[in-house]
């Protein structure tokens, strides 16, 4: 079994069924779980990403952190920003990639991945 690339920064080791960081190889978590649960997480104020430009107004050039947060997921090994998800405060992060691992193994065995 080999490691199969899934995204820009993620791969799955089919021998161990584990998510790994593609940048440093860090073992994140079981591939049958949400990879985000193996990352470091930080809720970033969008105003630190986009300069609001306008002071004291309800509307500016940056999203409002009371309703919009850039939730960042870092690799604990190399700090690569694996994913960013835009969420209102308190909204659960999505389980965005749920690969059918057993089907993937069959594809690899048949040379289709």
């Amino acid at each position: 079994m080999k490691r199969v690339t899934i995204t820009e920064y993620l791969e799955i080791d089919l021998a161990t069924d584990r998510w790994h960081c593609r940048s440093c190889g860090y073992d994140l978590i079981s591939a049958r779980q949400n990879y985000k649960e193996g990352c470091l997480v930080y809720p970033r104020d969008p105003a630190t990403v986009y300069d609001p430009q306008i002071k004291g107004e309800r509307y500016s050039f940056a999203p409002d952190k009371s309703v919009c947060v850039f939730v960042e997921f870092y690799c604990p090994g190399c700090a690569t920003l694996i994913e960013t998800e835009v969420l209102p405060p308190g909204h659960p992060p999505s389980h965005d990639i749920e690969i059918d691992i057993d089907a993937l193994k069959k594809r690899v065995n048949y040379g289709q991945a």
Partner: protein, 685 residues
Amino acid sequence: MPVSRQQLLDWIKPDKPTVEELDCLRALKPGDYEVYSEKLSMILDEAAEVFVKTGVSSMLHSGDLVVGLYTAAGDMVVASCGTYLHAVTAQLPIKYILHAFLNEPSVGIREGDIFYCNDGLYGGIHNPDQIAIMPIFFEDVLIAWSCAAVHQPETGATEPGGMPASAKSRHDEGMKLSPIRIGENYQLRADLMEMMENMISRAPRMQVIDVRARVTAADRIRVRTQELATIVGARLLAGLFRQMLINSEEGARKRIFGWCDGTYRAVSFADTLGRVESLTRTMLTIIKKGEELTFDFTGTSPENEGPVNAFAHITAAHMAIYLYAYAFHDLPISSGTFAPLKFIVPAGSLLNASPEAAISQSVYACYQVIVLAPIVFSKMMYASKQRDLVTAGAGNNHTAPFIYAGINQYGARVADLLAYPFNAEGGGARSDMDGVDCYGFPYAHYGRGPDVEDVENETMFLHLFQNIMPDSGGIGKFRGGTAVQTMLLLYHTPRVAVSTMGITTRVAVGQGLFGGYPPDIVPGIQVAGSNTLELMNAGAEVPRDSRELASKCSITGTYSFERTARPSRMLAKGDLITAIGSGGSGYGDMLERDPELVATDVRSSRVSLWSAKNVYRVAIDGKTGLVDQKQTARLREEERQDRLARGMSFEKFMKDWSTLKPPADMLSFYGNWPDASPNRLIIRL
């Protein structure tokens, strides 16, 4: 009576082949498919050219159109777009006409008929999108249908512009035509054209000219198809049509099979419903198994009393915009592509509202479908041979359309959209390159922005500036394409009514990809009673950037910073108002972006020095514009260490995070928090 919304959704898929079609298909000779499928595409391209040149409204000139050819049973065989949106939905009123009128003696379907439709209950998108439909007969047999559709910027609704933000039910939205015969024996009926002029009295001339343009385009397809049938025979066309449907389906199935089985999800939020602020949520789950896809929108916010609602077939049609342009871009644009696709759009959600709901802003209800499709598909396709199609979303924070209405400098009554800002949105960043700056329109990828000079000649406005907006491209290893900012000055007439419609000002609707960020957001900016004309007459400097104008207020006047959805108001000569587009989303970790590319972006005003330093962590000499590589390496290493220090374990993060909630006044129309399940009864009068 309208058919059920589920029936409309089912009609998107092609009918099963008939025995006769299969006989005709088997009779095709080598080369027939290649030669005549290309011939059909050329017929459609010719009709699209005719369409653009015979109409008058801005959306037509910018290319937000479709012309299509359909089988006798109403399945799309090939289309020329424009927008793939209408490619799907134009076949639904055809199927309705067949279903309701073929055997109805008082109507029937005859050679020379011209049908017309713009009601979502019969397959349309929203009532500005009007469709002309013609049956194509050969030797007294119905062999095909043609259609031509484009957005009309006025519908006779409660507000100018065809998409009234104040609409509370379908009864506020103006002209809605179920499929109706407006012409016989290849002649439009004067009484029905008069009816439309009467309904669209804000811009009657535009309505009549554009109806004729639609019919002219549909008729060109009819003429060319009949000419081709005369040469090759109707049986060859029937076989060819079915082969094109089969090839699309087989191509789609083969491509889907190449992706990893699994479940893929994404979520997007907006903050505006017509005239009110409230968060809404759109959820997309794609289940990929074998060679089939299921699109499940369960978890999307409930329908609401405003106009930001859609029906299930409209939701599916928005998915077509992505599918035909990206995942299946090299397959024939036919309904065969939809055969392996299943849609689950919960009734009662804002993507599948009740029949009485206002849906004039259905394209905004479905905007998040456009946002979510590239994100979910990219996560499904990255590990496949389609990695080159992986992309963040284009124009990802929704550009608010700018509508104006009044009497222009030539004395004509007009109501139209300014087509430039949303036809010059930023493209999404890809796995190997930045998004294209000012690429086009996420709803109609081939859309084009008109020249400033043409707009100033045809409308009441001068452009104080129209240029690339700094920091408008989503940040990432590869940057989202930049948007265009326009500052309009009312110049040619003493007054004009304007409004804009948007779905967000405080939240980012877009999602970046693989660590990239969505693009920035913008407020609506207006300066009433400005001294711009005095400054220009005196030869003084005027601002060339909306951010500079907003932060320095260097033009005198009364400033307003509003939501992008701005209610109708009157502008007076000399007033300024913005129309700003959205950039594309970014891709990848911004700390991996080549510092030289950041410096190039700073020198060309695509990225600010502030962003280069604080987000990309690139040190650039303010005087020379050159990168300090050592300092950059230090800044980036500091940021990596900061990430490790500030990042929390998922468990710790969720412990604090799950106690948070947006302000109650922003959840009025969201549904229950956080799953967005329905939480109240909606009653429409």
